[in-house]
Symmetry: C2
Subunit: 339 residues, 2 copies
């Protein structure tokens, strides 16, 4: 690191006190116009860059927020980050991005580092391997402003921005039912994560509403990643012919992509042999050989709302805890059987 110019150096060069320089640079009162001018010029000519580290130490404020993301390569998250960025850019906050690679341990390390760096708040989407909530509880109880997004942990004292997972999942399952399918499987996400539970819940509600009996063999816990969708689908395809599903709903699009891979490997065609639907509206969904019917999650909106809420919590400790739902849209393409 180069030797950076300090206030003191400017002060010395000008024969004034550091305080006067500080005041001049921060547009405070009680600085002679001429002095101020001299200071500004000197600061520029010396290439002064204020030291936020020192400022933060005094003000106990870093204008930095941490973002904890489980999977950068899932297209949903970069879009969320774009939404967050848009808000933080306007409000002069910076973003420390951490990637947990779906590992709870990495997430813990990340959050601890963020706390050490004294970020003003943290936006979290939990990893699928999340094990116990006490770690989050502790973080939140320490007074650190936290807002969850997409993969939330509920009733833990922090706000959450998600989509209407349950109703969306019910809606898309309903759509499969409308096609006349009776044997509808579900490739679920981890039940410890709210989206996992909610989306499965929506699927069950839809079946129940139509008096379709729930078949436990048709519900397989997969996960958020393509590989897991692939494996879950194989399990379903290995069921005896008679109990094989006619249609499959999945926890998200990557999972559906994996499942589609498996279906192809078994030489079956979509949607004729098996219909399938996703949840995300990944950038690839519409481009598949058989375009994927799915739920469009407004990722950018989720990021934006999350960041807005977090900054409110940071700036006003009385900001209430909320569960904010961003509304999705059912995108009907062909994989469900529509033409």
């Amino acid at each position: 690191m180069s030797s950076q110019v300090t206030l003191k150096q400017i002060a010395e060069a000008l024969g004034v006190s550091a305080m006067t320089v500080s005041r001049a640079l921060n547009n405070r009162d009680n600085v002679d116009a001429k002095t101020k001018q001299r200071v500004l010029e000197k600061a520029r000519s010396m290439g002064y860059t204020p030291n936020h580290i020192a400022k933060s130490l005094v003000s106990n404020k870093t204008y930095t927020i941490g973002v904890v993301i489980p999977a950068i390569s899932h297209a949903f998250f970069p879009e969320v980050v774009r939404g967050i960025e848009e808000v933080t850019y306007k409000t002069n906050y910076q973003l420390i991005l951490t990637h947990a690679a779906e590992q709870f341990e990495r997430e813990k390390v990340a959050i601890n580092t963020l706390r050490s760096k004294r970020v003003d708040g943290i936006l979290i989407s939990t990893s699928q391997t999340v094990e116990d909530y006490s770690f989050y509880k502790q973080t939140i109880d320490s007074g650190m402003p936290v807002v969850f997004f997409d993969r939330c942990i509920e009733n833990i004292g922090a706000s959450c921005v998600s989509v209407n997972d349950r109703t969306s999942s019910r809606q898309i399952t309903q759509h499969l039912i409308d096609h006349g399918y009776k044997k509808i499987a579900y490739i679920s996400g981890p039940q410890k994560v709210a989206v996992g539970k909610e989306r499965l819940g929506g699927y069950l509600e839809a079946l129940e509403a139509h008096d379709i009996p729930v078949d436990d063999k048709l519900i397989v816990e997969g996960g958020f990643r393509e590989q897991q969708g692939y494996e879950a689908m194989k399990q379903l395809l290995d069921l005896p012919e008679s109990s094989r599903p006619q249609a499959v709903a999945t926890i998200n699009d990557p999972s559906a992509f994996g499942a589609i891979e498996a279906i192809k490997e078994y030489g079956l065609s979509i949607p004729d042999d098996i219909a399938i639907v996703g949840f995300t509206d990944d950038i690839r969904a519409g481009l598949l050989e058989c375009p994927l019917t799915t739920i469009r999650q407004p990722a950018y909106e989720v990021g934006k709302k999350g960041a807005e809420k977090l900054i409110k919590v940071i700036e006003d400790p009385d900001e209430p805890i909320e569960n904010i739902e961003v509304v999705t849209k059912l995108i009907i393409r062909n994989s469900c059987g529509c033409t």
Copy 2:
């Protein structure tokens, strides 16, 4: 922000000096084993989180690197970030991510803030609107370690990690020539950015190598974004029938996607009426109606190499300046005319 526990508080509670606590927590010498034990326990029970801000002020080191990205939604960049993340995770650096949205002004603000935050180094991919280099020059001359990636600025005193843009571009143009096309257009990127210049250079070299005369009307400056590819293609399509291109090479995949949109609007078919190739191997490239022939850029590798180099520069001021080239791969699909 909650009231955080400090070293001093632990020291007081234990009746020792702050230094002793500091030593105990940092595994330094000259601390009695029993004392150390007592300190560690007290720190845990009081919920102590070390304050990196204070540490940084003394050490002049933040273990944080800044990343300046022009477009999060271009799938290339999240992959790069994943590569960077993988390295910083292992080396205990954190990532401040800034998004310039292809605007040079935002980029300047971002870099200044990163400097104020005293990041240990910065990874930069320049925005397409980059205007003058003096700003970068100043930043680098101030002693801030900088490594450019993908969109580099050369000969400015910083290392650069990119792909072999020129040879790749020559190779893919060559492939179009092999198909027998004579009138090959080029939708270029901004010439102020190295990739823009290099890729255009590769295209020109290929033509020259085959004695194909360069037709200025067939070279249109587009840009990195879909919309710009769309507009550039329209310009090409509006040329008189006789001078219309038989094939088009583009600066990147998004630009190609835009161009494809335009071609469709004109009722022409790919590759029969017009062949087209990209550069990126975007996640969507293989999924198009007519799958896109393109150059696969190893984004993850670029991020990894960039981060590795930056950390070397940070940790050893004598680390030499290098231009690191990561090698691409020509991905032949159908849009070029291959079947």
